[in-house]
Amino acid sequence: MLWLKKRSWNFWRLLVQTLSFALLITIPLLNYYLQFDFIQGWYQSISFGDLWFVSPLEGLERILVTRELYGPLLVGMALPVVLAFLCGRVFCGWICPIHYLSELSDRIRRLVTGKKQIKDRWLLPRWLLWIALIGELLLTMIIGAPLFVFLSPPGLVGRELMRLVFFNTLAIEGLVVVAVLLLNLITRRFFCRYMCPLGGLLSLVARRRKLRVVIDPTSCSHCNQCDKACPLGLEPQQGGGEYSQCWNCGACVDACSRGSLTYRWGSDEKKTQKTN
């Protein structure tokens, strides 16, 4: 088991992301061809037997629009919320198919062009993520119909894969996924950084999270490698790992050649006060 210890966080993340994406393909195939209903759904609602998960933002929209609480829905939302409360936006960083597809395209581009990464053209303030969350919820309330439930890019990936297996077609709303991936050309993870309401909600829940990336300022050589590696542009060297937008992907931990960046569990550091 020694070989396992040498693997980087990037390796583990890619493994988890690949398995999560494979799940999205496997579930419809199992459901359709084998009538195997034990596992079902995608990242809007996924079930393993009687263990049901519901995406928190979709559930919140449903509650806001119908103005009704529904017990099973709250139970389904509980575990993802607890996960975000303890570990932050790990869904975004480790599971979300949009981040996976973006990361894959990044890797392919790196193989083809040899360039390490493209320039981030638009650097906008981080608080746009809160605006996206508030705006989305307000728009939902004004219109009286939930919007993220049928336009959420991570959900759309699952729905399109299901449609492909079940009906051998794709729906036009799949273009949203393409558009979100194209936004990566402006700035890396442009949608995830500034526009994703689900990411905003998970960040909001994650403000007092336990799992953080912390920097040891004494051993840091200010080489900026972590700032370049961070897909969200959070600048871990300046303590960006403390921001609630951080999705704990571990890219900065891998980029650091001196081991100054580490994951830490718990909030005993005095730096934890400095959340955004």
């Binding site: 759904g41 519901v54 009704e68 119909a145 939930p146 439930v149």
Partner: protein
């Protein structure tokens, strides 16, 4: 400077248009229910007014249906994109109630088989061959899961009792009549969705009623 201003107004107007697009689309779509004759919600669905808000489009009802009768709508239906629908002419609902059990948001409520009301069957007396006394057809009567209750025969003509009809659409699916005349549905027995009944009246019928008065 002027180019900068131009770009700014372009982005601004683009953003405003983007914000207004779903609003106008939904204002129209909200009152345009995707339900129509023979296109129904799965069993146990909450009132159509609340369905769009209750359903989170997780598609688990689609995945669980063993008869593959439930299909998700797409963005052409506006805010109803992703909601489930059953086209009973294609595949009817056999009331296995599996979709009801997996719905995580209560858009589909648990309900007994015979209490289900997806719609109500309506016999078209002008195209039904039994009512026209052409031949003795009793297909809808034979396939009805609530035989002699929901559909009974009166003088060899099928009659629907809406107290018992669940709107499953098995009769519509089985009906051998295929009328393709303009303005008529193909089948001689059709399911009118309970919540969209008033929306699905064709224009001609409304004017006909008005003219008669």
């Amino acid at each position: 400077m002027s180019a900068d201003n131009k770009r700014r107004t372009f982005i601004k107007s683009g953003l405003v248009a983007l914000c207004l697009l779903p609003a106008t689309a939904s204002a129209k779509q909200r009152y345009d229910s995707p339900l129509s004759t023979n296109r129904l919600r799965p069993p146990g669905a909450v009132s159509e007014d609340n369905f769009t808000g209750s359903c989170i489009r997780c598609g688990r009802c689609v995945e669980v249906c063993p008869y593959r009768c439930i299909e998700p709508l797409d963005l052409r239906q506006g805010v109803n994109a992703g909601t489930p629908i059953i086209d009973v002419e294609n595949i009817p609902c056999y009331l296995c109630m599996k979709c009801v059990d997996v719905c995580p948001t209560g858009a589909l409520q648990r309900v007994a088989q015979d209490q289900t009301r997806m719609g109500v069957a309506v016999v078209d007396h002008y195209t039904c061959v039994s009512w026209q006394e052409k031949i003795l057809c009793r297909t809808c009567y034979s396939v009805c899961p609530f035989i002699d209750k929901a559909i009974r025969l009166e003088q060899f003509k099928p009659v629907v009792d809406e107290r018992y009809c669940t709107g499953c659409g098995i009769c519509t699916h089985a009906c051998p009549v295929l009328q393709t005349a303009a303005g008529k549905n193909g089948k001689a027995i059709n399911i009118e969705p309970v919540y969209a009944y008033e929306f699905s009246l064709p224009e001609s019928e409304i004017t006909a009623v008005d003219g008669g008065l």
